[in-house]
Amino acid sequence: MAVPTAPPALKFTGSKHLSQRLVLATLTGKTVRISQIRSSSHTSPGLAPHEVSLLRLLEAVTNGSHIEFSYTGTTVLYKPGLITGSAAGYGAQGGVIRHELPADCRRGVSYFLIPLCLLAPFSKAPINVLFTGPGVVTSSTEAGDVSADTVRTAILPLFRSFGIENNLELRILRRSNIGRDGKGGGGEVQLVFGHQVRLPKTVHLMDAGRVKRIRGVAYSTGVAGANNARLIEAARGVLNEFMPDTYIFSDISPAPFVPAPTKENPAAKRKIGLGFGLSLVAETNTGALYSADVASPPAGGEPPEDIGRKCAYQLLEAIEEGGYVSSVAAPTVLTLMAMGSEDVGRITLGKAVLGLEQVVQLARDLRTFGLSGWGLREDEDEENEVVLSIVGKGISNVGRKIT
């Protein structure tokens, strides 16, 4: 950009909260230098494969980004460019950016989807990214990622309250659980985010309401479909006590067949990403969403009944924590609120959600990036909820033409 002397880079340390910081840097256009990334680790110092992949994704959807790694990968300098999206001429083919995830990726595809969804409303052109390659895991993972189903059913709908609702679609083209040794997949997911705004609307999400329905997706990849029925039955066994209107879809798909060339047989293929899992979403009468995700561990050894029950308990916990957003969606919603127009937006949060390290760190990071601080106040009606008010900074979408 046409600034004679670039402002000094904002400095951060550590590998935690990396994606959140990169997203904030891209949105505010500020340069960041993140150092000491796993510098104390002897086995795998520096950026992990999924983090490198996330940086490459950011580079793909922006124009003019500049990324510098140190030799060991423990320090990264990121100078964001303009968010251009999948505009022709910037690496997109036919309006679609293909993003390949490496086989040693240990994170689910939602690790990439959620940051991308945060950038997408501020993009110049619609975002259309196809995640493919041997590292795409659509299920939830042990590393704490939610499944792609949860992104579709519990995170994308939240953009509606910010006035972002048209042409949002997440297609799960091929499912995959996490591979046998806890890495890799073989799935395929396409995110179409066609609604770009100048500023997200100011929201007042005050009333969490009451849960009126529970929906879910049970998925079996490469294993018998009976697992789905067992997952669903176990989850319903817990939830029926509370909510008769529970409907869980069942999706059975074959395992992805990915190339695994060996010396003897370069054309060899193998099946990876077998397993099953469950994603549950509870919706309230005011549109608040709570979600839960559990998938079978890559080592196996857990019957679907246990997974189903765990998922149901996790959902009950999320509902009990209260607030308008659960811990899964809180960072996304809070970031969008901070990006809104210069007006006070309000949201109720459960105290347990606010008391998460990630959320407090987000508050600090937002301030570091020059966004406004949060105001906190007790909720009069609900004792375990807090009303959080955020003044937007009016960071407008520079790329979008004013209409």
Binding site: Q314, E357, R367
Partner: protein, 115 residues
């Protein structure tokens, strides 16, 4: 009574608002203080708490090596007993719009179970 009075009430919003932007404290410290776990050192249960702290430290150091996670780690066996208790179930009822198991909805449930 004084000891009880001196102990800070956990989860007070004003406390968090005060500590949130205090960069001298790490986020973990802030949250521990907010939950009221930090200031119990000099009480009679000090030993217990030290144990707890050790546990926390260890957990954190492994956590720090790991990445950010969205799905919370939960103790599922504790949850199983928690949600088996009638009191807890009753306390949750107000969060649900319609929890009658009789009437029109009961039939729906029956139908689904047959599948």
């Amino acid at each position: 009574a004084r000891a009880l009075h001196d102990r800070k009430q956990p989860y007070r919003v004003a406390d968090l608002a005060r500590m949130m932007y205090d960069d001298m404290l790490s986020t973990a410290d802030v949250l521990r203080a907010w939950r009221g776990e930090g200031e119990a050192h000099d009480t009679a249960t000090g030993e217990d708490n030290d144990d707890n702290d050790d546990l926390f430290q260890r957990k954190e150091s492994t956590d720090n090596d790991e990445e950010d996670r969205l799905v919370p780690r939960l103790d599922y066996s504790a949850l199983e007993t928690k949600w088996a208790e009638a009191d807890n179930i009753e306390a949750m009822r107000h969060r649900f719009a319609n929890t009658r198991l009789t009437g029109a909805n009961a039939e729906d449930v029956g139908d689904d179970d047959d599948e």
